[in-house]
Amino acid sequence: MNLGISATEYVSQIRNGQISAEEFIAKTLDRIRTVEGKVHAYITIDEQNALNQARIIDKKIKAKERIGALFGMPISIKDNICTSGIRTTCASKMLENFIAPYDATVVSRLKQDDAIIIGKVNLDEFAMGSTTEFSCFGPSRNPWNVEYVPGGSSGGSGVSVSALECVASLGSDTGGSVRSPASFCSVVGLKPTYGLVSRYGLVSYANSIEQIGPVARKVEDIALIMNTISGHDSHDDTTVEKGRVDYLQDLNAGVKGKKIGLVSQMTGDGVDKEVSSATNAAVSKFQDLEAECIPISLDSVEHSVAAYYTIASAEASSNLSRYDNLRYGFDLGTEGYEFKAYVSKVRSNFGPEVTRRMLLGAFVLSAGYYGKYYLKAQKVRAMMKSQIDDAFKKVDFLVAPTMPILPFKIGEKIDDPLTLYLLDANTIMANLTGIPAISVPFAISSSGLPIGIQIFANSFQDKNLLQAAYALQQTTHLPEVPV
């Protein structure tokens, strides 16, 4: 049995009886036991429940009962997405033992389609970070070289899919958090259009820009999972009613006759040479597929990092205010404390990056600075949106490297927040403007590290985006993961 099969292959193999759900889950759990010590993708593994669920699925298959489209497929969930019965820690001491009394909408939809939640995966604390080093449970490691960071903040999602510890995963993408680990771990990661996937049950970090997105080994797997998780949700007022879309249908439509813009500001200075040449190679592949490729200039991109960290920090400072340890949290009694003293003691449990962003956020929102920083950042956002709108009048897709540089060593940049922030330079445009973006594994560097190519489409063109990503994927032949 090959654990490296895609989600769609899994479905067809289980349908024609080649494999059973129980076997597959058991094998996956073996695999997790073998590689977890090296890669540390998981925070919590729900072994017993996964096996029980798999047996139920197999019984249903035998009895020819109706089965959901995911057929007992093991899926890992980023640990900032609520799962009833399994703790949701956000990789923070603040929520170390928090068990939500409800499933996130995406989780209940996965369960309805008979996916099996095999466990919860690692992230930077409250999804704030780009390397998964800011987890209170320790960093995750890149399966392509365990000395290297896997990207982040959904590092556990990228690692667990790449290291064959599950078939697919759900991450969350606030400034590139799904696409960064997808690129660094050589898997596919989608940030859907804002409002396409419910955020109900996603622990908020920067709620005006973040989306839950799937991570998988193949573009078709992303389409399969989008079929399950996307669509309007009565628990999330920001979700949009767009009717049912089948993302698998016409996935191989190709890019013939499409116009693709290469974003100049994302391919210039500061981009690693090998990443640059991979990007040029990707453009050639699109041309081979009879797409027309032109350079596109989006000068607002130059301000995107500043705007992003202003807006995201502002929202973070508000979203994380609720952690006062009164209604849930860790073991620390209130007795003998005055309220404010208690709150400040409790909140000293946040890690360094979360603390940094909350302070920054409180500052940019404070009276006298709001106009100078927060409003200005919102203006950049509006300007970027209008530039994007103009760009999509000229082209169907935009292309850029997902990450400007190759994965680097764990610990190498952790003391340099500014350098880390610049890693997001190419991804945050999609978050600030709400458009969908996907990272497709495209090449392996001379040092054996993955390079991903990012494609953007206009809002709610997610299906077209997947078609372009699929076309690019079909041009690649990548080696198997070494771990």
Binding site: T88, D324, F339, L365
Partner: protein, 469 residues
């Protein structure tokens, strides 16, 4: 000149559910922390879902107060830490970056005075702190989140009041107005709360917070006027500050804490998309809004000839005006207005007594008809009414059980008059000389018939008798 402005918090108690979740809007009489869900206690991952009915009700209040309704409204987060605030912020509205609250720039006429409304905003109520323990040392603070997320409308006036009396009149008008609109029961505990700000001539502005009731705001304002004036007279500057009303001592006390000047770091609430308020929807709301108290009062006076003062009292009270609407016909309307305002309101002068009334529109309507066609006197009617509201029995049942039927046949009445003429010879003589004193004899007859005799008939018979003897 003294200037007073108000901030009134009015709960939309008539809504089924809270502002952002499906827990009950009326949290009263429930055991602590039983009316809560992941949304209203702000569990990680929960999201607010705006109650669209609350927007409707807030729009109605704004329209009734003459406010402008913007084309779109949005919500903001007001960030601060307090144990009763589960998310660390309150979802509210904020106009500093353009008018996005549900209403602004309204005006209310109270007697001769125009009170301008600065803005009206929709927001969530926090939870409640409950203190237990006798002394300060043993005191513990408990938090009850049943109220957290209850729908609240904040009404902010310009500093247009000149004295506490205008404030009282305004608050009464406002309470009647929200009750008449069917959006709130202002008499429920905590349903309507008032903060004020006040400055006397040549003095700084002082905020007054923590006032529990309407009566107390008037007292607090009086106290502040005296305090500020005496400072000014002695050339001591009035400090611009926030003062809390101390209910026990009936004085205002400086809060002396920096907390009051805290920075709320307002931030757009991205979980709730901007809401478009369609003009045709406003028109439809206007159309379907209950008749205003002023319009009602005019209709009562013009259509039924009810005296203005009676019409005023009747129209301002939703409970009684509803009863009137359901009971009256064109012919008995005036009589019903009389019964309600002179008798019924007298029996039920408190809210509890009002709720205990076992009265139906039919009771009132039967009674008015009986009085008008002379089958019962006003006096007996009052007794019958008292019995009906207590027992809920019909008028005919009450009439027979209490023997309240009219003594209307002339022969039995003449017999009683005979008796009185014998007993009251002196009075009869006097009446013959001075017809103005005849009422004394009428009174005696009424007493003997226990008020059941028709006063008109009695008087007529007595006059005849005085002339003939």
């Amino acid at each position: 000149m003294t200037k007073i402005g108000l901030e009134i918090h009015c709960q939309l108690t008539k809504l089924e559910s809270k502002l952002f979740c499906s827990c009950k809007a009326d949290y009263r009489n429930l055991s602590p922390n039983s009316n809560i869900c992941p949304v209203c206690i702000g569990l990680p991952g929960s999201l607010p879902i705006l109650n669209k009915k609350a927007v409707e009700k807030a729009t109605m209040i704004s329209l009734a107060l003459g406010c402008k309704i913007p084309e779109q409204i949005s919500f903001f987060r007001k960030n601060y830490f307090y144990p009763d605030l589960p998310k660390g912020f309150q979802i509210t509205q904020y106009n500093a970056y353009g008018p996005t609250s549900i209403g602004s720039d309204g005006v209310v006429q109270i007697e001769e005075k125009k009170i301008r409304i600065r803005r009206i905003q929709l927001e969530e109520d926090p939870g409640r702190l409950v203190y237990e323990g006798s002394s300060e040392k043993t005191q513990i603070t408990l938090v009850d989140y049943n109220r957290a997320g209850a729908p609240l409308v904040e009404i902010v006036t310009e500093p247009d009041f000149e004295n506490p009396k205008q404030v009282r009149i305004f608050l009464n008008v406002l309470a009647d107005l929200v009750e008449n609109l069917g959006v709130s029961d202002p008499y429920l505990e905590g349903a309507m709360r008032v903060d004020g700000n006040i400055s006397v001539e040549k003095a700084n502005r002082v905020e007054i917070k923590n006032v529990g009731s309407f009566r107390d705001i008037e007292k607090a304002l009086h106290f502040e006027i005296t305090r500020q004036q005496s400072l000014v007279e002695r050339n001591i500057p009035v400090v611009a500050e926030t003062r809390h009303w101390d209910e026990a001592r009936k004085i205002t006390v400086s809060s002396r804490s920096k907390e009051e000047e805290q920075d709320y770091r307002y931030l757009p609430e991205a979980d709730i998309p901007i809401i478009q308020i369609a003009q045709n929807k406003i028109a439809a709301l206007k159309e379907n809004m209950p008749e205003s108290i002023i319009a009602k009062k005019e209709r009562y006076a013009q259509k039924y000839g009810i005296p203005p003062q009676v019409a005023d009292v009747l129209s301002s009270d939703k409970f009684y005006s509803d009863l009137f609407e359901n009971a009256h016909t064109d012919t008995n309307a005036k009589e019903i207005a009389n019964i309600i305002t002179t008798d019924l309101m007298g029996f039920a002068d408190t809210r509890e007594k009002k709720l205990d009334l076992k009265i139906t529109p039919k009771h009132i309507s039967d009674l008015a008809d009986a009085i008008l066609n002379g089958t019962i006197t006003r006096n007996s009617g009052k007794i019958a009414l008292q019995e009906m509201v207590k027992t809920g029995k019909s008028l005919s049942d009450v009439k027979s059980s209490l023997d309240l039927g009219n003594v209307s046949d002339v022969s039995s009445l003449e017999k009683i008059i005979d008796e009185v003429f014998k007993e009251e010879e002196k009075a009869v003589l006097e009446a013959k000389q001075n017809p103005d004193t005849v009422n004394y004899i009428v009174g005696k007859v009424m007493k003997k018939t226990k008020g059941k005799a028709s006063p008109g008939t009695t008087l007529e018979l007595i006059r005849k008798r005085l002339l003939s003897s």
